[in-house]
């Protein structure tokens, strides 16, 4: 099958949906003439013209707020908020308006919009262009939160995100834009709320999102060499959350490691641990392990960022810990 990068896959999803539905349109800062600072929307202006994709002033609150207004009038805006760190200035339109429009209108005017944002740490961006923000939005009923990790899923999930009548926060990891992977030619969608078993195994369950999925897969490969079969689950969306897939895996493995890039404390991993502790406690043969960033802002520079972002090694350590402590819990119980 042909290979595309995540960047190309997202662009293809936009192109196909803009073709399919005239109410789908794109706006944001430098998305048209320049094609987006991450070049995701490159070429769409030439193809669809200035009414389907256009540049805006430096006004994230107006960008998302206007998307809400256009969406309630029946359009399907897909807006780009360059860096997910700017969630802080678009949060009101997202949390108090997009997420509540359908509820406050008694179902009359849902807000079918997609807010695309680039998240994740890198050495050169510093504390304001690198945060993983999903946990800031995960306690807001009405929102849907998507975090693809492969070109295949990025395309299929974005198409679903554009087609759903509800507001979707679509989080794209900066370091995955260039990641290549197989992408079918046909018009497929990946349903929201369905996790993907990225690597089957029966020794331990590793639940991950975004870039951490790849770290987890690297860890699984390394562990396989030692005869440890880790099952890697790529959540793909955290809201809706595919509890079934997580629980089925834990019931099989009895062990779980949860990995995300944002700091452990207050991160979405807590929700996953809670679901397991509520619904599969009896299957756990070892304490839950969470792998995430330390309790610090995202630093600047290669050395510190490498120390900040959870590594394959950290996941391997956590997996070994769950295996090593197999009996502990029975004892100290």
């Amino acid at each position: 099958m042909r290979e595309l990068t995540c960047r190309e896959a997202i662009r293809e999803a936009l192109r196909e949906e803009m073709d399919r539905d005239g109410s789908v349109f794109v706006f944001g800062e430098d998305v048209a003439d320049y094609g987006g600072v991450f070049k995701v929307t490159e070429g769409l202006l030439e193809e669809f013209g200035p009414e389907r994709i256009f540049d805006t002033p430096l006004s994230e609150s107006a960008i998302v707020g206007a998307a809400v207004g256009a969406a309630v009038m029946g359009m399907r805006p897909v807006v780009e908020v360059m860096f997910a760190d700017f969630t802080t200035i678009a949060m009101d339109a997202l949390v108090n308006h997009a997420a509540k429009m359908n509820y406050m209108s008694g179902g009359e005017t849902p807000a079918p919009l997609v807010v695309r944002m680039a998240y994740g740490a890198g050495p050169r961006w510093g504390s304001h262009h690198t945060q993983s923000v999903e946990a800031w939005l995960a306690n807001v009923p009405g929102l849907t939160i998507v975090m693809p990790s492969t070109p295949h899923d990025a395309k299929g999930l974005l198409k679903s995100a554009i087609r759903t009548p509800n507001p979707v926060v679509f989080l794209e990891h900066k370091l995955l834009y260039g990641k290549k992977g197989e992408v079918p030619e046909d018009d497929y969608v990946v349903p929201l709320g369905t996790a993907n078993v990225a690597h089957p195994g029966d020794a331990v369950t590793v639940v991950a999102t975004g870039l951490m999925v790849h770290r987890a897969l690297d860890a699984a490969r390394a562990l396989r060499a030692d005869g440890i079969d880790a099952e890697v689950i790529d959540l793909r969306s955290i809201q809706p959350l595919d509890e079934e897939t997580i629980l089925a895996s834990v019931e099989k493995t009895g062990r779980i490691v949860i990995a995300h890039e944002s700091p452990v404390r207050g991160g979405f991993g807590g929700e996953i641990a809670a679901v397991v502790a509520e619904k599969a406690l009896g299957f756990l043969d070892a304490p839950v392990q969470r792998v995430g960033a330390p309790w610090t802002p995202v630093p600047f520079g290669q050395v510190l960022v490498d120390a900040y972002v959870p590594s394959e090694a950290a996941i391997i350590r956590a997996v070994r810990a769950t295996l090593g402590s197999a009996d502990e819990r029975r004892n100290d119980g």
């Binding site: 399919r20 207004g69 969406a71 009101d92 308006h97 509820y103 295949h152 009548p165 018009d187 497929y188």
Partner: protein, 336 residues
């Protein structure tokens, strides 16, 4: 009072009735609140009704309005039944969003009323977005967005007006300058001379009118609407008015205010002012006035009876409408 351009006598009487109905509704809900019969805390618009009536009267059915917490009149002129508004204040199933929403932010898609916001100022960017949808669809529709002087200090005022100006969107921003933001007078939250002149910073005209002169508001709104409808872009219409009651029924009228100021504005109350003008013009006479009074009064009492007789929302209502049902379109593609 300024002239009333193309308005027929019928229009004038209808506008007067809207003005009276709004006032009667506001006064009645304040009474009901005092009696402990309402769920919703009234934020009375008494004294400001000429803005909503003047600006909304004459709009087309397909135009849209986004009222502020103080634009009760807009709900009436757009045709939301008095019964429904009253039921919403009682949080009844027959009210707003099946009882899930309060009356002062209620929307009505069929009547072109966009859902309002409890986050003051936030509606401004939403209104710009609705206007953007009209522009993209090449519909010659207009959005009227109402908000107060306090809202004009929110970042969203700036971003929303700049966005609308850059794209010359068909939206009219109606700023209800009633001299106060809760218990803070304009002089304490604004160092400029007037709000209308801020429009220049966004590349479109700003107009300042006497918000208690229903004809002045109507005239200015109509030309702003025409401007927007013909693709010339937004207008900021500052309507100078005054809030005759407290910010809400928790605050007595006098809270933080000099009553002489309030009394001074009572003289300019838009309701008696319009009534006197229509009498002067021979459009209304005592008999007609009494008849309209009776009629409005009956409509309000009918609404109260309807609201009090309506059932509360069933508990399942809590869980309804959190998400809109997935459209078949979603599964249009093959799953993978």
């Amino acid at each position: 009072m300024s002239g009333s351009g193309g308005l027929t006598d019928r229009d004038l009487v209808e506008m007067y009735r809207w003005l009276l109905l709004t006032r009667a509704f506001e006064d009645r809900v304040c009474e009901l609140w005092a009696q402990g019969r309402l769920m919703e805390l009234p934020h009375g618009s008494q004294g400001q009704e000429a803005i909503g009536v003047g600006a909304c009267y004459g709009l087309r059915g397909e135009d849209h309005v986004l009222p502020s917490l103080r634009t009760r009149a807009a709900f009436f002129v757009r045709g939301i039944p008095t019964r429904v508004q009253m039921a919403a204040m009682y949080a009844k199933a027959t009210g707003a969003a099946g009882g899930k929403a309060s009356s002062h932010h209620m929307g009505d898609a069929a009547r072109g009323v966009l859902v309002g916001s409890g986050i003051i100022g936030a509606s401004i960017t939403v209104a710009a977005g609705a206007a953007l949808a009209f522009r993209l669809r090449r519909q010659d529709r207009v959005v009227l967005c109402f908000f107060g002087d306090g809202a004009a200090q929110r970042g969203d005022f700036h971003e929303g007006l700049n966005f609308a100006g850059v794209f010359r969107l068909p939206v009219v921003f109606v700023l209800e300058n009633n001299g106060w933001a809760e218990m803070t007078p304009v002089a304490k939250h604004f160092a400029g001379s007037d709000f209308a002149s801020r429009a220049a910073g966004y590349g479109f005209p700003g107009v300042r009118v006497d918000g208690n002169d229903i004809f002045a508001v109507h005239e200015a709104a109509q030309s702003a609407v025409t401007r927007a409808r013909t693709g010339l872009g937004p207008t900021l219409l500052e309507c100078v008015t005054y809030r005759l009651r407290g910010h809400c029924e928790n605050n007595p009228v006098a809270t933080c205010r000099d009553m002489a100021e309030v009394e001074g504005w009572r003289e300019k109350d838009p309701l008696p002012r319009m009534r006197a003008e229509l009498v002067r013009r021979g459009v209304l006479d005592p008999a007609r006035i009494a008849a309209i009074d009776r009629d409005v009064c009956a409509e309000i009492e009918d609404a109260v009876a309807f609201a009090e007789g309506s059932p509360p929302p069933p508990l399942e209502e809590l869980h309804r409408d959190v998400y809109a049902p997935e459209s078949a379109a979603l599964v249009g593609g093959t799953r993978s």
